[in-house]
């Protein structure tokens, strides 16, 4: 009789192993005939204005592709995690996607710092990543597995400077937020100034939680520039716009594409009037001339997004929308082979997206040209397209 318990024990352990194994492998077996695509966005936290529409847009594209029959007859499955805008969480989410979920590609993260934090991870795991962040450091220098769909601040700075140059102005004062977005913008603003015949006479910074920028603007006023360029994301630049008016400064004020949303006009109120800023075309889709190549794509995206989510569209969702569309295009015929997928991504050219016309190449993993931005001016509480 003494053998019985031990047999029973062995039986139990065999069952446990089988059940455990089934539980463990089942999802993989079931999912084998769909393409798993990861998404990492800052869905909550301070940068939720980016991550939330990005997540929604990605899901929207995935659903649209699946209802049209998937890719090569295989469905797409999106696995999306929240980074809360925190680089450490982004790293955790990406390694979870790679090691546990076994995704074949990743879309996101939403921010430059979070993207840079996961860059090495995807490079060593050899998983293609299409970031939705703007920082130029993401794709310059080019690394094999990292792509991005958001316009770089290089192009935004060029668009702003071109407008300043055309207006016949010579000197600029810079005011940038003390975070990655502002630093990267400031660097570009300083580097590109000479190419447009401009001189930077003042460069000040403000913290992204600062409540008053009068002191910085006073210092800029002393340097008497022909134009002031403020580089930041909400809400700081709205405070700058208010303080600018309160100090009675008269030179033109330029803001970055970081505040290109109706929220900025709402925050700055009447102080927003007359401000110039570069933006992706989505903000002014209705104002674009009919022959603009992006007009149809933009109208379609806006209609889809607004009817599904019942909330106003922002350009940020477009980054994930483009990324998912491009990924779907490159997935065709790869059978889930990441090396082929990567090679295909580099071949995508002439893709008309929300953020611009993408022409990827082994040397260019962003694929956008200077036409991705247009200049707008805020007039009567809305945008006015400035024709080049």
């Amino acid at each position: 009789m003494s053998a019985t318990p031990s047999i029973r024990n062995r039986l139990f352990s065999v069952i446990a192993v089988v059940v455990g194994g089934l539980l463990f492998f089942c999802p993989v077996l079931l999912a084998a005939d769909s393409f798993k695509v990861g998404g990492v966005f800052s869905i909550t936290g301070p940068a939720s204005f980016l991550g939330d529409p990005e997540k929604k847009s990605m899901e929207m594209v995935v659903d649209a592709i699946n209802s049209a029959g998937g890719i090569d007859g295989r469905m797409l499955e999106a696995v999306i995690y929240d980074t809360e805008g925190d680089p450490q969480r982004a790293v955790n989410a990406v390694s979870k996607l790679i090691n546990r979920d076994g995704v074949i590609a990743i879309i996101g993260p939403s921010l430059t710092p979070t993207t840079l934090a996961v860059k090495n991870l995807v490079e060593s795991a050899k998983i293609p990543l299409i970031s939705c962040a703007a920082g130029i450091q993401i794709t310059q220098p080019v690394t094999p597995w990292v792509f991005k769909t958001a316009q770089s601040d290089v192009m935004a700075v060029a668009t702003v400077y071109r407008h300043i140059q055309k207006s016949g102005l010579k000197t600029v004062g810079l005011l940038s937020v003390a975070n990655a977005f502002g630093e990267s913008g400031k660097q570009q603003l300083e580097e590109q100034a000479a190419a447009f015949g401009l001189q930077v006479v003042a460069a000040e910074k403000f913290g992204d939680k600062d409540s008053d920028m009068t002191a910085q603007l006073t210092k800029i006023r002393k340097a008497a520039p022909d134009a002031v360029v403020c580089w930041g994301t909400n809400p700081g630049p709205a405070v700058v716009a208010k303080n600018f008016g309160q100090l009675g400064l008269e030179m033109p004020l330029y803001q970055s594409h970081g505040v290109a949303s109706p929220k900025f006009i709402e925050l700055a109120g009447s102080a927003a009037e007359g401000i110039f800023l570069p933006t992706g075309k989505i903000l002014v889709a209705g104002l674009l001339p009919a022959d603009d190549p992006q007009k149809a794509v933009l109208t379609n995206f806006i209609e889809q997004f607004e009817s599904r989510f019942q909330m106003p569209v922002s350009g940020f969702g477009g980054y994930a929308y483009d990324a998912m569309q491009i990924l779907a295009k490159a997935l065709v015929g790869t059978d889930g082979d990441t090396e082929k997928l990567r090679a295909n991504l580099e071949q995508v050219t002439g893709h008309v997206g929300v953020s611009g016309v993408f022409n990827f190449s082994p040397q260019d993993h962003n694929g956008l040209g200077a036409d991705a931005f247009v200049m707008v001016r805020i007039k009567n509480g809305t945008w006015e397209l400035i024709q080049e």
């Binding site: 913290g207 939680k209 008053d212 002191a215 006073t218 309160q246 925050l267």
Partner: protein
């Protein structure tokens, strides 16, 4: 000269806000020896309260002001009643950690209640900025100064002239002795929380029109206010005021004459310096003179 004046205006405005936050810290520290790290969140609630009552519901200014202050005081009251008083062994470190937890909780409440976006609030008066020797002074800055000074003088009178205020002061000096002479010390502690929360609310209300209000605005303001309180001497009413103005003006001058990237560093370097040279703060040398 014009610049210097402008820096001073900017510094005094910010300083007044730091001052009233610091006073909130002082009031509470006096009665309880507790540093409330959720104090910045009361500021946030005050500002967001104004967003709802003044901007959205369009209530008259005084009514919105009063309702917000009362509302946030109630939050302070509930905080004391349910988070602080229920602690079985109220050791300082436990209580401080509770306040840190409360700050995270309140921020979460703010996020759920008002969303993640920032809001702006109209200034109290639409008068254009005053121009003094080429420098511009906002009408809102005057509002801030008047309200802050009013609040601090009111508190000063309360502590020195009213029986309740004196009873609270007695609590601050020795809670046991106060209890022995029949002062309800528990109620005094509660009152300190309410007053402190009200001070936070006032700071939030007056800062709302100058800046953008969002659920996460309180943390940095709370830290700056804490710096100001330490600078002036923790627990000293006028020390907090002095510390606040000093911090605000030094920050503005630092931006003007050194570098704007050093703005936040100035507060914390100053704090370290003060702690090293004069650990009790500028006005906090002798404990008996706390008020």
């Amino acid at each position: 000269m014009q610049e210097l004046l402008q820096y001073l205006f900017s510094g005094i405005t910010n300083g007044a806000i730091y001052a009233v936050i610091a006073v909130g810290f002082a009031v509470l520290f006096n009665a309880t020896e507790l540093i409330n790290f959720a104090h910045g969140e009361f500021v946030m609630l005050g500002a967001l309260g104004m967003v709802t009552l003044y901007s959205s519901l369009q209530l008259p200014l005084t009514l919105a002001f009063l309702l917000t202050t009362v509302g946030v005081s109630c939050v302070g009251f509930l905080f004391e009643r349910f988070a602080i008083r229920t602690v079985k062994r109220p050791e300082p470190i436990v209580l401080v950690i509770i306040t840190v937890g409360a700050s995270i909780f309140l921020r979460g409440v703010g996020m759920l209640g008002w969303g993640k976006d920032a809001f702006s609030v109209d200034p109290f008066s639409t008068h254009p900025p005053f121009s003094i020797a080429g420098a511009h002074l906002l009408p809102q800055s005057l509002w801030i100064l008047v309200i802050v000074l009013g609040a601090v003088v009111g508190l000063h009178l309360f502590f020195n002239r009213s029986l309740t205020g004196k009873a609270m002061l007695a609590c601050a000096i020795s809670r046991r002795a106060a209890w022995l002479v029949g002062i309800p010390t528990g109620r005094m502690v509660q009152l300190a929380f309410v007053l402190s929360a009200a001070m936070g609310a006032v700071a939030g209300i007056i800062i709302a029109p100058v800046t953008m209000c969002s659920y996460d605005m309180g943390t940095l303001l709370g830290l700056k206010g804490f710096c100001a309180a330490m600078l002036g001497g923790l627990g000293s009413l006028w020390g907090g005021v002095l510390g606040g103005f000093l911090l605000g003006v030094l920050e503005a001058l630092g931006v003007g004459f050194l570098s704007s990237s050093l703005k936040d560093a100035i507060a914390f370097v100053l704090l370290l310096l003060i702690l090293y040279v004069r650990p009790a703060g500028l006005l906090g040398a002798r404990k008996v003179q706390r008020f």
